[in-house]
């Protein structure tokens, strides 16, 4: 029966989204059932995978090497878990944030389950071309969601996002084509054995695939589409995009690097990716420090935090593997909390200039608490999940003797402390003027407490890391 | 012999397509360009018919049919697309 779980994880949200579309009006509560059921499915899957054997579903029953398989191993299950937890929180948050009456509400409650299903599909896919389709699916669900903040304000960001995403996926597809020419199959499980080395096409294919994913994942030279899109979207959507959508690209990179592309990648390529990651950490953090709008601070922070995950590639030992993946989880939860909290501030202030934050600690204490707690994880202070992840990365850099990555880790943490405290300092500063000049509505309990719950979870991730890392297991293939 | 004729005709038509590109590129007016598209379309239809026989793929005749239909649509779309706004 466990074979049904991956399939249901894709089909249930998908059908829910379609039903919502056909119905023509928003039904927010139905999505609560869907995200709850989704979490239940993931928990069942977690139990099934915990034994160490992946759960595999053969769609259509045609078998290898032709059919598409869905496969849930430790890595995929952890990402599914992250997605499911965030989906529950964000679906609750979106009830007051989007309401149920406007047409945009219907569009949100249609697109969101479709995006959820698409993300699940991406994490579960074991087929190179199917991954291309799911990448496009995720992109084309995400961009309309960005536009829900109001087409006039977000159209430029959305267009740029679309152009880069399309280019990225086509470059990825070019790599897939070359790889298929060499290996004759698209199945990730068969590719390493089927790929001949020593040709030109193989490494070129790997380079194209990786470049395409880097564009999708907004890694440093290709980050330029991210801040405007993530900063401009509605808060709930920003949380989804930053915590899950770009992470999906990095997830693919981790999965392919240690699996299908393993025979084709080289140490130099790993160092290059690590360099990109380290530059992303420094550049993104610095930019985040310099922004004058709250959501742009958080968006640039995403650029930086994604960079940490790339530090796996030069080191490629189990500690780095666990550190990178755990960083993905911790950052996902913390960043979602940050964006939701930022959304609450924005909701109250009606704008997100940092200057406007002065002295808002009283009405928005809970949201600010969430922001601060999530910030602890982003900075990588103990006992948060961010700390565990960075500790593992640090261990790896010492293990492999590549101490220079430590510098990036430390500098990134300091800069993160800088931009988080900059926001908090402003908020707790008493302003000269009395606070009643702001007439925005105070965000409701649901909005404040979902953000806080996620922030607490981000801290808590530091305490419950052992079972999750067990589930993830060692680096596939034993490292290079 | 018939194969030779077909090949030669195909080659002639593709070269004509290339020649027609001069109008696509040189213009000078927008109408010239759309006219060149029309000619390219008809030439393509002719080529498809020839290739359908030459390669023994009758399905290409369907493709020719689809081309003919969309050629008219393109002209319509062009006039709609370039007409001044009221």
């Amino acid at each position: 029966m466990t074979e049904a779980l991956p399939v249901l994880l894709v089909f249930v949200p998908f059908l829910a989204g379609l039903g919502q579309f056909v119905l023509g009006r928003a039904v927010p509560w139905s999505q609560q059932f869907v995200s709850g059921f989704n979490l239940l499915l993931v928990l069942l899957l977690l139990r099934a995978v915990a034994g160490g054997e992946p759960v595999i579903a053969d769609l259509g029953g045609w078998g290898e090497p032709l059919a598409i398989h869905l496969q849930a191993d430790g890595l995929a299950t952890l990402m599914l878990l992250l997605t499911a937890v965030l989906a529950v929180a964000i679906s609750l948050y979106a009830i007051p944030a989007f309401g149920g009456h406007a047409r945009s509400a219907w569009q949100f409650w249609t697109l969101w389950p479709l995006l959820l299903g698409s993300l699940n599909a991406l994490f579960l896919s074991r087929d190179l071309f199917n991954i291309y389709v799911t990448l496009e699916l995720v992109t084309l669900a995400a961009i309309p969601l960005v536009l829900l903040a109001g087409p006039r304000k977000t159209v430029d960001a959305a267009l740029r996002y679309l152009l880069f995403a399309l280019l990225g996926s086509l470059i990825y597809l070019a790599g897939v084509a070359l790889l298929y020419a060499q290996a004759g199959t698209l199945d990730l499980a068969l590719l390493p054995a089927a790929t001949p080395t020593g040709s030109l096409a193989g490494p070129l294919a790997a380079a194209l695939i990786i470049t395409g994913i880097l564009i999708k994942g907004a890694i440093l030279p290709f980050h330029i589409w991210l801040p405007a899109a993530h900063g401009g979207a509605p808060a709930a959507v920003s949380a989804i995009l930053s915590a899950l959508v770009v992470k999906a690209a990095i997830y693919l990179l981790l999965r392919l690097w240690t699996g299908a592309l393993e025979p084709l990648v080289s140490i130099a390529a790993g160092q290059l990716l690590g360099l990109l990651g380290a530059s992303a950490v420094l550049f993104g953090s610095w930019q985040a420090f310099r922004q004058s709008r709250l959501k742009l601070v958080v968006a640039y922070s995403t650029v930086a935090q994604l960079g940490y995950m790339l530090l796996f590639f030069p080191m490629a030992v189990t500690a780095a593997w666990q550190g990178a993946v755990y960083h993905g989880l911790a950052h996902g939860v913390a960043k979602a909390a940050l964006f939701l909290a930022a959304g609450n501030l924005l909701y109250y202030l009606g704008q997100d200039r940092l200057e406007a934050l002065r002295g808002i600690d009283r009405p928005l204490a809970v949201s600010l608490l969430a922001f601060g707690l999530a910030g602890v994880s982003i900075m990588g202070l103990p006992p948060s999940g961010g700390f565990t992840a960075k500790w593992l990365l640090l261990t790896a850099s010492l293990q492999t003797g590549q101490w220079w990555w430590t510098a990036a880790l430390v500098a990134g943490g300091l800069l993160a402390a800088g931009y988080i405290f900059r926001v908090l300092r402003l908020a707790f500063l008493q302003s000269a003027e009395p606070a009643e000049r702001r007439d925005g509505p105070v965000p409701g309990r649901l909005m404040a407490w979902t953000a806080t719950a996620l922030a607490l979870l981000a801290i808590g991730l530091g305490l419950i890391s052992a079972p999750l890392l067990d589930l993830l297991g060692d680096i596939p293939g034993g490292g290079s | 012999m018939i194969v030779l004729v077909l090949d030669a005709a195909c080659l002639a038509l593709i070269l004509l397509l290339g020649l027609g590109l001069v109008r696509v590129i040189a213009g000078p007016a927008a109408a010239d360009r759309i006219l060149a598209i029309q000619l390219s379309g008809t030439t393509t239809v002719g080529l498809l018919l020839l290739l359908a026989i030459r390669l023994e793929q009758p399905a290409l005749i369907h493709a020719a049919l689809v081309f003919v239909l969309f050629a008219a649509l393109l002209a319509l779309g062009f006039v709609y697309g370039t007409e001044r706004k009221p």
Binding site: V7, F129, L137, P144 | I14, L51, A59, H62, K85
Partner: protein, 309 residues
């Protein structure tokens, strides 16, 4: 025939270059449309008649109309002069060198011969008898790798939702027609053959080149023709039936995939006796959804209405 291929490839490159470097936007669009024609011929030469059909309908046809329609909406002031030649600046020169290097590597990589024939493709051809359709490409799309096709319907639907979110208020749909004297009669003349060809292509997909995509695109073309000649116009209201039809393909596909699990033991697998009728059913529902989605992407409205010119 080798000569034909050579000329074809040369023209493709010429037009691609033109598309990138043309001085005006319209010239670039025209070059792109003609490129679509040549690409269709290339598909023929590469033994891919399915794609020739798809290219004729989608690539050269619908996309061309959409591009020209968008071009019309751009204000002159919004178009700045481009400097697209390699000698116009540093960025151009670097990009040109990068592009050249990539092209050389790609060409060499494509030239390398594969060690052995593709296992997946061989399996597909070997199992064709069990697929319920005789056309290998349709078998892959609707049966062997049907999951891709299902997700692709999701992409189409979400692109449509996205386009509707950014649409401007209705002025667009109401004055879509250029009000020509000839057009409505033209549309009436063309409509029956287009519909017939579209339906035929959908149906024929089971055993000859064609299928839901090609047929759906041709049907969408019929709708676009009606819209361009003013017989059909965009409406700001969408009905339950319309949304139902838009989602029909994905829903039928999914439902068939799920309901038959007890019989087949696999998701998206079809039992032997039912496979051919199921394929036809799925193909037609997909075609309806594809045609409507493409049509609405053209009109840019959530709904449709008949109108008398």
């Amino acid at each position: 025939m080798m000569l034909l291929d050579g000329v074809l490839a040369l023209l493709l490159l010429l037009l691609a270059g033109r598309c990138v470097t043309a001085a005006s936007l319209l010239q670039a669009i025209v070059a792109f449309i003609v490129l679509g024609l040549l690409l269709a011929l290339s598909w023929v030469r590469l033994q891919a008649p399915d794609l020739a059909l798809a290219e004729a309908a989608i690539g050269a046809g619908l996309l061309g109309v959409l591009l020209l329609g968008t071009w019309r909406h751009l204000p002159a002031s919004g178009i700045h002069h481009e400097f697209p030649w390699p000698w116009h600046g540093m960025k151009q020169a670097v990009s040109a060198l990068g592009g050249l290097a990539l092209a050389v590597m790609l060409a060499l990589a494509l030239h390398e011969t594969a060690p052995e024939p593709a296992a997946a493709g061989e399996t597909a051809l070997a199992q064709l008898d069990a697929a319920g359709v005789k056309q290998p490409v349709t078998a892959v799309l609707l049966n062997f790798r049907a999951y891709d096709t299902l997700l692709e319907m999701g992409v189409l639907l979400m692109a449509l939702i996205g386009a509707l979110i950014v649409r401007r208020p209705l002025q667009d749909g109401s004055r879509i027609a250029p009000a020509t004297l000839l057009s409505p009669s033209l549309a009436r003349l063309f409509l029956p053959p287009i519909l017939l060809i579209g339906l035929y292509l959908v149906w024929a997909g089971a055993y000859s080149p064609g299928g839901a995509f090609q047929g759906g695109a041709v049907l969408a073309g019929a709708g676009v023709m009606l819209a361009l000649t003013g017989l059909l116009r965009g409406a700001s209201v969408d009905g339950l039936w319309l949304r139902g039809l838009l989602a029909l393909g994905a829903i039928v596909f999914t439902t068939a995939g799920v309901l038959l699990v007890p019989v087949t033991g696999h998701f998206m697998a079809y039992p032997d006796g039912l496979v051919t009728p199921l394929m036809v059913l799925i193909e037609f529902s997909l075609a309806i959804s594809i045609a409507l989605s493409l049509l609405l992407l053209f009109t840019g409205t959530p709904g449709l209405a008949r109108s008398r010119p």
